[in-house]
């Protein structure tokens, strides 16, 4: 493949046979599915065996980095892993930035890696340019995410990119994650367990090549315009200095300054929202932690840990084991209730289930990650706990979506109560509840509706759809979510970050022009929209083929609409289940899918060239 942007090769790895092979990337496929997220979904569609369990040896995992990754355009470092996820039981995407992994994969010559099979013994995949090897990982098995990262960086020499799992993934914990460069997470849904089930501890990559762009002159013009916009943003220095604390002031600027070692950025990011901190004093003085954001380190405080230094130690432990903190704390809260209600009686040898004690929380992190005692049941997630302890336990379960604990909403870690696209999206993205705005204006609470039309135009929403989304003084959240998913698909397929502080500088038309300049593939906004529709509809069709149903996978939790439940984004009035169900129908309708079932019509599939998926 001679077009720019793409590295031009797909690496196939069969862990069962211990074999790898390289194939050229099909340029027609790249054009039809854009790249990155979109093309990874297409490769999953082509190589998955329908109906297989997520942890079956023959389950497929596809990694992908889009055509803009590694080109130096702002915040283009996104990596996606797509597979059937064990917790949700759906085919879903996991996405991350990270320091080097995506760029290194491209520089080594690969846009995608397709992984199948299960290694007999623990292995890791080492890619150094065209030298690809499956190497024994017995010495790495049992190591933390961070330790595995350090060992592999030393073996390959920096800069290298490393995707690794911790003991939780090795032991197939339902809410284990993989980490990119030990800082960004590929989760939720249990991607770590998928790697663990394959005996794949890590993928380590180092690339000495590069990525060329097709039209350098055009690229430079567009990049210069983009950088000028970023450079003149009046909040740039503030965002670079404060990171996500600017939007979520969980700690004082003074406390943050005391612990900050440095800000950290994914490759080519002008904002650098990641943090390297050092605990300044107390029992854990000197503990250095690299994190996706310092605000994540405060999650344990929401559940009972009192001291912020203990909270940092707690998150460091969760990350080292490779556990999803939201799901872990949701499960521990649930189990504590079950014990208080007399439904679960732990063995006397088990540590007490308490969330206000660092030692006890860490004990449970280890017991779950190593599947010891009651930890073996808890490692199976909410569904396993309910299956084990029966209907009595189910009565006390929190709101669940696809068997997972929503991260936002009543009873969740983030008790946001306005029902915007991110909140509804927890139900309507096949992957399940996750943190991701899709660049929608409702990411921020109470934005005035006057600000919406300009934002929606930037996202590439057609004018006639803007009228449907904003009829008079109302906001149709379901219809908006359809375009939020489309905007996310554009960014994810190109390889750009969707975080609010980045996607604000991009617009859909610019993305089409950048894509064309980088790849050389003729693309305008209409063409890009068409390809995005194809990608997201394919994503839906793959899940429908797996048995995905509105009444099950997209069921709205009733608890969301009881007392102190979700509220209408615009009016702030209590939202009913019926109103939220109507939003789901609006979402389906706006995609051109059946309004009741969410099944795409034959006509729509034909328009998108997906008739063979029906």
């Amino acid at each position: 493949m001679s077009v720019g942007g793409f590295a031009g090769q797909v690496l196939f790895v069969d862990l069962s046979k211990g074999r790898t092979r390289v194939e050229p990337l099909d340029p027609a496929l790249a054009e039809q599915y854009i790249g990155g997220l979109g093309l990874s979904l297409k490769l999953v569609k082509d190589y998955i065996r329908p109906g297989l369990d997520a942890l079956d040896p023959d389950a497929v995992v596809v990694l992908g980095a889009g055509p803009l990754v590694g080109t130096g355009l702002p915040s283009t470092s996104r990596v996606y892993s797509i597979c059937k996820l064990p917790t949700s039981g759906t085919i879903g995407w996991c996405g991350a930035g990270g320091f080097n992994f995506g760029a290194m994969l491209k520089y080594a010559g690969f846009d995608h890696v397709v992984i199948t099979g299960r290694a007999e013994k623990p292995v890791y995949l080492e890619i150094v340019d065209d030298r690809v090897e499956l190497r024994g990982a017995e010495d790495l098995w049992g190591l933390s995410v961070d330790a595995a990262y350090e060992v592999l960086c030393q073996r390959l020499g920096r800069p290298a990119g490393v995707m690794s799992i911790g003991p939780a993934g090795e032991n197939r914990v339902a809410y284990s994650m993989a980490f990119i460069d030990r800082i960004s997470t590929l989760g939720r849904g249990g991607f770590g367990a998928v790697m663990g089930s394959k005996n794949l501890k890590a993928v380590a990559v180092k690339g000495g090549g590069g990525v060329r762009v097709a039209d350098r002159k055009r690229y430079r013009e567009l990049a210069a315009g983009l950088m000028e916009k970023i450079g003149s943003w009046p909040h740039l220095k503030e965002a670079q200095t404060a990171g996500l604390i600017k939007s979520f002031p969980v700690i004082s600027p003074e406390d943050y300054r005391r612990m900050k070692k440095r800000r950290a950025a994914c490759v080519s990011c002008p904002i650098g929202c990641k943090d390297v901190i050092e605990v300044p004093d107390g029992e854990f003085a000197g503990l250095v932690k690299c994190t996706s954001s310092v605000i994540n380190l405060y999650t344990p405080l929401l559940y009972g840990i009192q001291d912020y230094r203990e909270s940092i130690r707690c998150m460091a432990t969760l990350d080292e084991y490779g556990l999803d903190a939201f799901e872990f704390f949701g499960i521990m809260t649930f189990v504590r209730t079950l014990i208080e209600e007399g439904i679960v009686t732990p063995d006397r040898s088990e540590p007490e289930v308490r969330l206000d004690s660092l030692a006890l929380v860490e004990a449970w992190v280890e017991r779950i990650s190593r599947r010891q005692g009651l930890g073996d049941v808890l490692a199976g997630g909410f569904r396993k706990i309910i299956e084990t302890f029966g209907p009595d336990a189910a009565r006390f379960a929190p709101a669940l979506v696809k068997g997972m604990h929503p991260y936002a909403g009543p009873g969740s870690a983030l008790a946001w109560d306005l029902f915007g696209t991110m909140e509804l999206g927890q139900v309507l993205d096949p992957r399940g509840p996750h943190v991701g705005s899709g660049g929608s204006p409702t990411y921020f609470a109470r934005r005035p509706l006057e600000a919406f039309p300009g934002h929606l135009q930037r996202m590439g929403v057609p004018e006639e759809a803007i009228k449907r989304i904003l009829p008079g003084e109302d906001l149709k959240v379901g219809a908006l979510l359809r375009y939020s998913h489309a905007w996310f698909t554009i960014l994810g397929s190109l390889g750009a970050c969707a975080r609010a502080n980045i996607n604000r500088f991009y617009n859909a038309d610019l993305c089409a022009r950048l894509y064309e300049a980088v790849t050389g593939i003729e693309t305008d906004l209409a063409a890009l929209r068409h390809r995005v529709d194809r990608v997201w509809t394919l994503y839906r069709m793959m899940n429908l083929r797996e048995g995905f149903q509105r009444s099950v996978e997209e069921a709205l939790p009733e608890r969301w609409f009881r007392e102190a439940g979700f509220k209408d984004y615009v009016t702030g009035q209590a939202l009913s289940l019926a109103e939220a169900s109507g939003m789901i129908e609006d979402y389906y309708d706006e995609w051109g899918w059946d309004k009741q079932t969410g099944v795409p019509s034959a006509e729509e599939l034909g328009r998108l060239g997906l008739a063979d998926t029906a």
């Binding site: 520089y107 590069g210 990525v211 740039l236 800000r263 490759v267 990011c269 250095v288």
Partner: protein, 79 residues
């Protein structure tokens, strides 16, 4: 071509590698960390920045630094 003294404040570096990519684009016509004449090695808390022997002190790395890590000053006597 003008030459510059490049001053490095490694404590400010985020590891975004925009300097390396701008350098490789300028001199190798490709985006590639391996082709860059400036080397940024981040280990998390620590960061080392160095220049290869091929560096011509053009200052393009400093032009592309957004974090006040690299700054440039025209070399004395340079025209």
């Amino acid at each position: 071509m003008a030459k510059y003294d490049i001053t490095v404040a490694a404590d400010n570096c985020t590891g975004c590698l925009r300097c390396e990519l701008a350098c490789s684009d300028a001199y190798a016509k490709t985006f590639s960390t391996a082709s860059a004449r400036i080397r940024v090695v981040m280990t998390g808390p620590d960061c080392e920045i160095s220049f290869t022997d091929e560096c011509v002190e053009c200052g393009i790395c400093a032009d592309n630094c957004l974090y006040d890590t690299l700054s440039k000053e025209r070399k004395e006597g340079d025209r």
